[in-house]
């Protein structure tokens, strides 16, 4: 995984739980997981898992919840870090349809060697979308979090039915997405 993701994870922890929490997480992690990282370089996925595990211990959050919350934060972080990539879509649908053919393609130009997942969309007559996710990392929880971030970013609600999942032995995850306008403005 790229250093950017690690560093956004650090930001996420610091913003949510404070500086001290991050230091505790580092102290609770194995030595090799503590190294300093920079955005464009690639680090072992295992290190991220160690950090997430330590974060759960320190914060008391169950891993599912922690990863999903990080996904929501990650979306905002990536959109902020790469405004040129994120700003070219008219709406959430367009963005989802552009993940594979535009977003992750651009990501690979900026961060050579990035191992981005395959995220494809299929449109239905009723306006819903089927999004398929395929990755050896099987990080569909992170995906859900990213979708939460997408909702917040565009101010829409995206109903999801995640009936087909890699964690249940499917070759890929399938999410049926239904869009509705933003919840009544507060």
């Amino acid at each position: 995984m790229k250093g950017v993701i690690f560093n956004l994870f650090e930001e996420f922890i610091v913003e949510t739980f404070g500086d001290e929490a991050w230091e505790k997480i580092l102290d609770a992690s194995p030595h090799e997981a503590r190294e300093v990282r920079v955005g464009p370089l690639t680090y072992p996925d295992g290190h991220l898992l160690h950090l997430v595990g330590a974060a759960c211990e320190v914060s008391g959050l169950p891993p599912e919840k922690a990863v999903r919350a990080f996904g929501r934060f990650l979306f905002g972080g990536l959109a902020r870090k790469y405004p040129g990539i994120a700003s070219q879509f008219a709406g959430p649908r367009e963005m989802l349809q552009g993940i594979d053919s535009v977003i992750h393609v651009e990501v690979n130009k900026l961060l050579p060697g990035a191992e981005t997942p395959r995220v494809l969309c299929q449109e239905h007559d009723d306006g819903s979308l089927t999004l398929t996710y395929e990755s050896s990392r099987k990080m569909c929880t992170l995906l859900e979090g990213l979708l939460d971030g997408l909702e917040a970013h565009y101010g829409v609600t995206v109903e999801r039915r995640h009936d087909v999942c890699m964690h249940q032995g499917a070759p890929r995850c399938e999410l049926r997405l239904t869009f509705s306008a933003a919840r009544a403005a507060a």
Binding site: D19, E20, E23, V36, R37, V38, P40, L41
Partner: protein, 431 residues
Amino acid sequence: MSEAVLQRKLARAEAKVRLLESLIEDKTRELYLQTVALKASNETLERIFDAMPGPVLVLDEHLVVQRFNRSALKLLEATPLLLTGLPATRFFPTIEASVARVDVEGGAVMTEAEWRLEGPALPVLATLARFSDGVERHVVVIATDLRDRKALELELRHAQKLEAIGALAAGVAHEVNTPLQFISDNVDFLVEALTSFDAFARRIEEAAPGIWSRVSEEPAFEELPFFRERIPKSLGRVKSGLERVTEIVRALKDFSHPGGEKAPVRLAPLVHRAVTVGRHELKGMDVQVEVPEGLEAYGYESDLNQVMLNLLVNAAHAIVDRHGDATLGRIRVFVDGGPEQVVLHVQDNGGGMPPAVQARVFEPFFTTKPVGKGTGQGLPICRKLIVERHGGRLWFDSAPGEGTTFHIGLPVAAAPSSGATHEPTRRAAGG
């Protein structure tokens, strides 16, 4: 935030900066090396592009010239400064229609076009295609210079015309031959009859001496003695005139006899024939043919006829050009050679050629003669016939103000590689 946490954060930030610096250095070095490699490969491509014998032009979306190779510059006789940024319509007026065809048909489109920049119009075969370098769309144009081909087509047409004239002459000669024979037979009859009448008159004179002079004193027969004396001479002249015409007709017939196979060709009759056919141009000149009877070369007789006639006519023109008076002209046709090659020389005392003319005489359409008198195709055709069809040589020596000698080197026999037997150089006379 505690002091300790701050310290740790600072230490990590410093480590990050160091890491980033070394990362930047690595990338910079990598970039440098890649730029060098890219430049080298770019230069190689550029050199290949430039060395390509065919003219190539790369245009942008708006058909403005972006790149071109050296052949393109040469073809258009342009400077790089002129060509860069020039709209291609300036020299290729029909390009827009051709590009439209590329867009409809896809792939590459070939089209014959006339290009013209500063100089004369250039016939070219242009091949157009579109390509994209990932950033921009371009049109690439590859040109083939058609000037040589056009010249060749003209030359062929000229040769075909000559052939047609030849066939026509042969036909006319054939037609003329029959009445000629008929006239000749009648003249023979008249000579015979007159001889008989003369003998008869002599017998009467013997029987009645003085009768001849008495009769011829009568006014009605006044001219009889004159007739008696002149008619045989006059008929003799008619006869020799007829022989000359017969000879010309036969020469014409033989001369224009279409090619056929390569075979041993007797050179003496060939030269005499060409002199006969070209007699109008050679009139009044002293033409000496010193070619041994029986000497042969190996080739196409009709080709050699044409070459010999061309050289003789050129010589005659050069003589008239120099002297204005044909009677001062001297042309000598003579030979030498070895067992495998015979060399025919056509020497004239015409005006010769200055070096600038000498350098160009074999160029198609090069002529110094006024329109109507020369087309400049004689020598190029001769060269082609001798060199390409016979594997021979055609060259010359010329001294301005003194004269010119053309040399034709021809094989004596079929090439040994073709398995033919070796022919002797000279044959017994009269064969």
